[in-house]
Symmetry: C2
């Protein structure tokens, strides 16, 4: 019993954390409950549908499967479901009609053939990446509805009556979802993508801002000890591709909202995201030097150290400024002061290195500093690319 008690405490703790990490999750749960209750009570009270669970069922089913976390996902699924049901229903009636003309023997054969063919073809179409991104759910519903209608064995006029009822219930369900998701504390996929991209830039910026001191000074540990989170924040950026692409796909379904117009250039965020990941990969390589034991002797490298610290700090600040520019949807100042500073520092570093006043150096000690300097130069280039991309977004 004690074991299960600690387990219960653990679950309670986790529940609290999940709710606190993103309070919109709690709101989303309540919203789904609301939409479902609205639809089910509507059908419960309709005397027309009393004791006739089938139609109400379709509305309830639609709400459960269509209601998603973001507005974009909800609209996308709703449209997919509605359109697919309509088209597949019409084609299914046609197939059923064709098959029934072939007589009692031919009918099941032809129906089997039609069902097989459309299922196989539609399933294959689902593998097209572009189709999968936007219409995957619609194709599933297409297979479903087509099969149901063509094998139902009803007469054509019965089917039409059924189709009318089913479409209208789906319409009720889907529009309840869309209305609740838009008007009760909406969660916009586009806004999430926007914030995510800005947040990632800020995380990289935080790392770079702190990196120089952390690496070269090395001994600030005691001071920062309980606040090293800025050194690991960049990691979540590395694996963000799927999330970002998903959000961009969903955002395309959304109407204009807040600061975003309909058909906001969501692809541009993906470009910035890709550049950000590239930069994060370089930061990952940089990070491995933080924990390496071989540090350069301070006397010789003071000059390098100074310049590298500037490069790291300035490019970090540049990223944070870009993040802010995205956040506030303003055009980033151009030329950006921090980028200019970091580029100048990179040039200084290059000429310093070229000057060649480096005799009697233990190369093994140089090598890690050299690698860091080289990575920092690459990062400065990365930051310039990102800045360009952000500017493009703002125009």
């Amino acid at each position: 019993p004690k074991n299960s008690f600690t387990k219960g405490v653990e679950i309670a703790r986790q529940t609290k954390k999940i709710g606190q990490d993103d309070p919109r999750r709690v709101i989303h749960s309540l919203k789904l409950g609301l939409a479902l209750t609205l639809v089910s009570l509507f059908y419960y009270f309709q005397p027309l549908y009393k004791n006739f669970g089938v139609s109400a069922m379709w509305a309830v089913m639609t709400v459960v499967v269509v209601f998603e976390f973001s507005v974009g996902a909800t609209i996308g699924k709703g449209l997919n479901r509605g359109l697919a049901t309509f088209i597949a229903g019409a084609l299914g009636v046609g197939a059923h009609y064709l098959a029934s003309m072939t007589g009692k023997v031919g009918e099941p054969i032809f129906i089997g053939l039609f069902v097989f063919l459309q299922a196989a073809v539609t399933t294959f179409i689902r593998f097209f990446p572009k189709v999968k991104a936007r219409y995957d759910y619609g194709l599933v519903i297409f297979i479903l509805t087509f099969s149901l209608v063509s094998i139902s064995g009803f007469r054509t006029d019965e089917i039409l009556d059924l189709a009318h009822k089913r479409l209208s219930t789906i319409l009720v369900g889907a529009s309840t979802c869309v209305i609740v998701s838009i008007f009760v504390c909406p969660v916009w996929a586009g806004e999430d993508l926007h914030n995510l991209v800005a947040d990632h830039l800020e995380k990289l910026g935080n790392f770079l801002e702190g990196f120089g001191e952390e690496y070269f000074a090395g001994s600030v540990e005691a001071e920062f000890k309980d606040n090293k989170s800025f050194l690991v924040g960049y990691r979540s950026v590395l694996n963000s591709k799927t999330t970002e692409e998903n959000q961009a796909n969903l955002a395309r379904w959304e109407p204009g909202h807040g600061k975003f117009m309909y058909l906001h250039p969501w692809e541009q965020y993906l470009k910035i995201g890709a550049l950000t990941r590239k930069c994060a990969c370089r930061i990952e390589a940089l990070n491995s030097y933080l924990n390496s034991e071989i540090k350069a002797p301070e006397e010789v490298f003071q000059k390098v150290q100074e310049i590298c610290t500037i490069m790291s700090k300035e490019s970090g600040q540049a990223l944070k400024e870009l993040s802010l520019a995205i956040g506030t949807m303003t055009k980033p100042s151009s030329p950006n002061r921090h980028i200019v500073n970091s580029t100048t520092a990179a040039q200084n570093l290059e000429s310093l290195l070229k000057s060649g006043s480096w005799e009697d150096i233990n190369l093994r000690q140089l090598i890690s500093v050299a690698a860091v300097a080289s990575l920092l130069i690459d990062i400065v280039i990365s930051v310039e690319d990102i800045a360009e991309s952000v500017t493009e977004l703002a125009t």
Copy 2:
């Protein structure tokens, strides 16, 4: 018309490519068609269900939504659907019974309350990462079934009859899916994960094997020109996290098959995958030096060049050997000859650099070689980690 003709050609070309990239996609489409046709004809011919679309409908629906590309996904969805329907159905009957005891006025209120509460709570549970990974679909079906049963307004004995019919049709649908997916050209998620991890190691190996020559010789371009694919293969590794985690989740549902026992240590593949991505990130950093214009003058760096080429080649071969060991499920030879060689080379490099016979060097020219050498040292360490992890998998 010409425009739509070229578009048609483009679609045909893409269709062919999608089929050729993975012929199992074509087979999967046919399998779904087969399962669907089997189930629909079964219900079409059953005189019991003639003109009674509802029950047949549930079997068809189950097939369409449960049949997935891999066996693991199909079994997972089938079990989720079956269990969730059963549990939610039982609870729904209970809720309906409780609500009906409160009389004509209380009933709709209580039913609304129950539906709201269970929908909100279950939706929130879906946010738990561990639950989402394995039981997400089950929870959706739970909400669906519970709501349907509790608002259906049937009498309890009617509900039991309906529940029996529905469960049995779902059983027929789900088992058809599982049987077809296991016995007709099965696609195992576990095997896919296994091959994916091995394939990723091989891609990194290919890069490293070729990198040394490519970077230091520089002029082999003419020779290799049309076969540079080994230099970009590693990129697909960088974003593989989501895919691998998905596959591992699905693989857990699968029974033993081929070389894999039930409950094969799939997590170990995720560990190897994470290390592989870390290594790929370093390779990405390395790759940026391939196209940089500043190359070291050959006279001075001949020694470094030689050792780096050995490190790169040997660690590449080590990775390819590990990939092969995974592929054939044998224990990698230990100590691995290539790893020993690359570690020795790394040590030689360190002592060479320490010897300090490096006067009159243009540091700017050194710096990129130094960075490459340093990254290669890190990569050798990465490869050792991977080797350890692969050995652990084999035992």
